[in-house]
Protein backbone atom coordinates (compact mmCIF):
# COMPACT_ATOMS: atom_id res chain seq x y z
CA UNK A 1 0.00 0.00 0.00
CA UNK A 2 1.07 3.59 -0.51
CA UNK A 3 3.20 5.12 2.18
CA UNK A 4 2.64 8.75 1.30
CA UNK A 5 -0.74 10.38 0.90
CA UNK A 6 -1.03 13.79 -0.70
CA UNK A 7 -3.56 16.41 0.21
CA UNK A 8 -5.50 17.89 -1.48
CA UNK A 9 -6.18 15.49 -4.34
CA UNK A 10 -6.76 18.42 -6.66
CA UNK A 11 -6.04 22.14 -6.45
CA UNK A 12 -6.87 25.05 -8.74
CA UNK A 13 -5.33 28.49 -8.20
CA UNK A 14 -4.82 31.68 -10.15
CA UNK A 15 -1.54 32.27 -11.90
CA UNK A 16 0.80 34.19 -9.64
CA UNK A 17 -0.60 32.73 -6.42
CA UNK A 18 1.25 30.29 -4.22
CA UNK A 19 0.35 26.60 -4.23
CA UNK A 20 0.76 24.37 -1.20
CA UNK A 21 0.51 20.59 -1.24
CA UNK A 22 0.85 18.29 1.71
CA UNK A 23 2.06 14.74 2.14
CA UNK A 24 1.52 12.49 5.14
CA UNK A 25 3.23 9.18 5.64
CA UNK A 26 3.01 6.33 8.11
CA UNK A 27 6.43 4.91 8.98
CA UNK A 28 9.98 6.14 9.48
CA UNK A 29 11.83 7.44 6.47
CA UNK A 30 15.36 8.00 5.30
CA UNK A 31 14.27 10.76 2.95
CA UNK A 32 11.23 12.16 1.20
CA UNK A 33 11.12 13.29 -2.40
CA UNK A 34 8.76 15.30 -4.56
CA UNK A 35 8.17 14.60 -8.24
CA UNK A 36 6.19 16.36 -10.94
CA UNK A 37 4.32 14.66 -13.77
CA UNK A 38 3.06 16.59 -16.76
CA UNK A 39 0.13 15.07 -18.59
CA UNK A 40 1.15 12.01 -20.60
CA UNK A 41 4.76 12.14 -19.45
CA UNK A 42 7.01 10.36 -16.98
CA UNK A 43 7.73 11.72 -13.52
CA UNK A 44 10.49 14.25 -13.00
CA UNK A 45 12.37 14.60 -9.73
CA UNK A 46 12.01 18.01 -8.08
CA UNK A 47 13.62 17.91 -4.67
CA UNK A 48 14.79 15.54 -1.93
CA UNK A 49 14.75 16.26 1.78
CA UNK A 50 16.47 13.99 4.28
CA UNK A 51 15.00 12.96 7.60
CA UNK A 52 17.42 15.19 9.52
CA UNK A 53 16.48 18.28 7.48
CA UNK A 54 13.51 20.54 8.20
CA UNK A 55 13.39 22.79 5.17
CA UNK A 56 14.86 22.93 1.69
CA UNK A 57 14.61 25.37 -1.19
CA UNK A 58 15.08 25.04 -4.90
CA UNK A 59 14.17 28.03 -7.04
CA UNK A 60 10.44 28.67 -6.50
CA UNK A 61 10.05 25.44 -4.54
CA UNK A 62 10.12 25.18 -0.77
CA UNK A 63 9.79 21.84 0.99
CA UNK A 64 9.34 21.32 4.69
CA UNK A 65 9.52 18.11 6.67
CA UNK A 66 8.11 17.43 10.11
CA UNK A 67 9.15 13.92 11.15
CA UNK A 68 7.27 14.16 14.45
CA UNK A 69 4.03 14.61 12.52
CA UNK A 70 5.17 12.42 9.63
CA UNK A 71 4.28 15.09 7.14
CA UNK A 72 5.83 17.23 4.42
CA UNK A 73 4.65 20.18 2.41
CA UNK A 74 5.61 21.48 -1.01
CA UNK A 75 5.15 25.18 -1.66
CA UNK A 76 5.36 26.58 -5.19
CA UNK A 77 5.59 30.35 -5.13
CA UNK A 78 4.42 32.70 -7.88
CA UNK A 79 2.77 29.92 -9.83
CA UNK A 80 2.88 29.81 -13.62
CA UNK A 81 0.79 28.04 -16.22
CA UNK A 82 3.68 25.64 -16.78
CA UNK A 83 3.32 24.44 -13.16
CA UNK A 84 0.06 22.72 -14.12
CA UNK A 85 0.86 19.06 -13.43
CA UNK A 86 0.44 16.28 -10.89
CA UNK A 87 2.77 16.30 -7.92
CA UNK A 88 3.78 13.18 -6.02
CA UNK A 89 5.59 12.66 -2.79
CA UNK A 90 7.70 9.56 -2.39
CA UNK A 91 9.32 8.09 0.70
CA UNK A 92 12.42 5.97 1.14
CA UNK A 93 12.52 3.76 4.26
CA UNK A 94 15.57 3.63 6.53
CA UNK A 95 18.10 0.96 5.50
CA UNK A 96 16.13 0.15 2.34
CA UNK A 97 17.31 2.66 -0.19
CA UNK A 98 16.40 0.25 -2.98
CA UNK A 99 12.73 0.96 -2.32
CA UNK A 100 10.79 4.14 -2.90
CA UNK A 101 7.06 4.36 -2.34
CA UNK A 102 4.89 6.91 -4.11
CA UNK A 103 1.67 8.54 -3.03
CA UNK A 104 -1.34 9.06 -5.26
CA UNK A 105 -0.53 12.64 -6.14
CA UNK A 106 -2.06 16.10 -6.15
CA UNK A 107 -3.37 17.48 -9.45
CA UNK A 108 -2.50 21.17 -9.66
CA UNK A 109 -4.21 23.40 -12.20
CA UNK A 110 -3.03 26.97 -12.69
CA UNK A 111 -5.77 29.23 -14.02
CA UNK A 112 -4.78 32.08 -16.39
Amino acid sequence: SQQGEEDPQALSIQEGENATMNCSYKTSINNLQWYRQNSGRGLVHLILIRSNEREKHSGRLRVTLDTSKKSSSLLITASRAADTASYFCATVPPNRDDKIIFGKGTRLHILP
Binding site: N30, G42, L43, F102, K104
Partner: protein
Amino acid sequence: DAGITQSPRHKVTETGTPVTLRCHQTENHRYMYWYRQDPGHGLRLIHYSYGVKDTDKGEVSDGYSVSRSKTEDFLLTLESATSSQTSVYFCASRWGGNEQFFGPGTRLTVL
Protein backbone atom coordinates in the same frame (compact mmCIF):
# COMPACT_ATOMS: atom_id res chain seq x y z
CA ASP B 1 16.59 13.71 -19.00
CA ALA B 2 18.62 10.61 -18.28
CA GLY B 3 18.83 8.30 -21.27
CA ILE B 4 15.94 5.99 -20.48
CA THR B 5 13.57 4.74 -23.14
CA GLN B 6 10.64 2.37 -23.23
CA SER B 7 9.29 0.27 -26.05
CA PRO B 8 6.72 -0.01 -27.33
CA ARG B 9 5.10 3.29 -26.39
CA HIS B 10 1.62 2.01 -27.14
CA LYS B 11 0.29 -1.52 -27.42
CA VAL B 12 -3.13 -3.07 -27.85
CA THR B 13 -3.39 -6.79 -27.25
CA GLU B 14 -5.97 -9.44 -26.50
CA THR B 15 -6.65 -11.27 -23.28
CA GLY B 16 -4.47 -14.34 -22.87
CA THR B 17 -1.60 -13.23 -25.08
CA PRO B 18 1.93 -12.74 -23.77
CA VAL B 19 3.33 -9.22 -23.74
CA THR B 20 6.86 -7.98 -23.12
CA LEU B 21 7.73 -4.37 -22.41
CA ARG B 22 11.29 -3.18 -22.66
CA CYS B 23 13.13 -0.54 -20.68
CA HIS B 24 16.54 0.62 -21.83
CA GLN B 25 18.87 3.02 -20.01
CA THR B 26 22.23 4.34 -21.08
CA GLU B 27 23.29 5.78 -17.70
CA ASN B 28 24.81 2.59 -16.25
CA HIS B 29 22.32 2.87 -13.37
CA ARG B 30 22.34 0.00 -10.93
CA TYR B 31 18.69 0.06 -9.92
CA MET B 32 15.74 -0.26 -12.30
CA TYR B 33 12.02 -0.27 -11.56
CA TRP B 34 8.72 -1.06 -13.22
CA TYR B 35 5.57 0.76 -12.09
CA ARG B 36 2.01 0.86 -13.23
CA GLN B 37 -0.11 3.97 -12.99
CA ASP B 38 -3.88 3.81 -12.76
CA PRO B 39 -6.47 6.46 -11.91
CA GLY B 40 -7.12 6.53 -8.19
CA HIS B 41 -4.09 4.38 -7.39
CA GLY B 42 -1.16 6.58 -8.22
CA LEU B 43 2.10 4.83 -9.00
CA ARG B 44 2.48 1.24 -7.83
CA LEU B 45 5.68 -0.78 -7.89
CA ILE B 46 5.53 -4.04 -9.83
CA HIS B 47 9.12 -5.32 -9.72
CA TYR B 48 12.54 -3.83 -9.34
CA SER B 49 16.14 -4.83 -9.94
CA TYR B 50 19.20 -4.00 -7.87
CA GLY B 51 21.71 -5.46 -10.31
CA VAL B 52 22.09 -7.80 -13.24
CA LYS B 53 20.01 -10.91 -12.58
CA ASP B 54 18.98 -9.53 -9.17
CA THR B 55 15.29 -8.71 -8.96
CA ASP B 56 12.61 -8.46 -6.30
CA LYS B 57 8.85 -8.12 -6.13
CA GLY B 58 6.94 -4.94 -5.54
CA GLU B 59 3.43 -4.51 -4.19
CA VAL B 60 1.55 -5.59 -7.35
CA SER B 61 3.75 -8.33 -8.83
CA ASP B 62 1.11 -11.01 -9.45
CA GLY B 63 0.82 -11.78 -13.17
CA TYR B 64 4.13 -10.12 -14.01
CA SER B 65 7.69 -11.35 -14.35
CA VAL B 66 10.91 -9.49 -15.07
CA SER B 67 14.37 -10.19 -16.32
CA ARG B 68 17.61 -8.26 -16.35
CA SER B 69 20.42 -9.91 -18.25
CA LYS B 70 22.31 -6.66 -18.93
CA THR B 71 22.73 -3.49 -16.90
CA GLU B 72 20.97 -1.40 -19.51
CA ASP B 73 17.87 -3.54 -20.14
CA PHE B 74 14.97 -4.44 -17.85
CA LEU B 75 12.13 -6.44 -19.35
CA LEU B 76 8.62 -6.75 -17.97
CA THR B 77 6.56 -9.72 -19.15
CA LEU B 78 2.87 -10.36 -18.83
CA GLU B 79 2.70 -14.11 -19.40
CA SER B 80 -1.03 -14.07 -20.15
CA ALA B 81 -2.45 -10.58 -20.32
CA THR B 82 -5.74 -9.78 -18.58
CA SER B 83 -7.99 -6.74 -18.85
CA SER B 84 -6.99 -5.71 -15.31
CA GLN B 85 -3.48 -5.17 -16.64
CA THR B 86 -4.64 -2.37 -18.89
CA SER B 87 -2.58 0.52 -17.59
CA VAL B 88 0.25 2.93 -18.21
CA TYR B 89 3.59 1.36 -17.37
CA PHE B 90 6.60 3.39 -16.34
CA CYS B 91 10.17 2.30 -16.04
CA ALA B 92 12.64 4.16 -13.85
CA SER B 93 16.31 3.88 -12.99
CA ARG B 94 18.84 5.34 -10.59
CA TRP B 95 22.40 4.89 -9.46
CA GLY B 96 23.46 5.34 -5.85
CA GLY B 97 21.57 8.51 -5.08
CA ASN B 98 17.89 8.30 -4.45
CA GLU B 99 16.65 10.37 -7.36
CA GLN B 100 14.80 8.23 -9.88
CA PHE B 101 14.75 8.96 -13.60
CA PHE B 102 11.62 7.93 -15.43
CA GLY B 103 10.97 6.76 -18.95
CA PRO B 104 8.14 8.20 -21.07
CA GLY B 105 5.72 5.37 -20.32
CA THR B 106 3.98 2.60 -22.25
CA ARG B 107 0.21 2.65 -22.64
CA LEU B 108 -1.04 -0.94 -22.70
CA THR B 109 -4.62 -1.88 -23.54
CA VAL B 110 -5.77 -5.45 -23.07
CA LEU B 111 -9.05 -6.19 -24.85
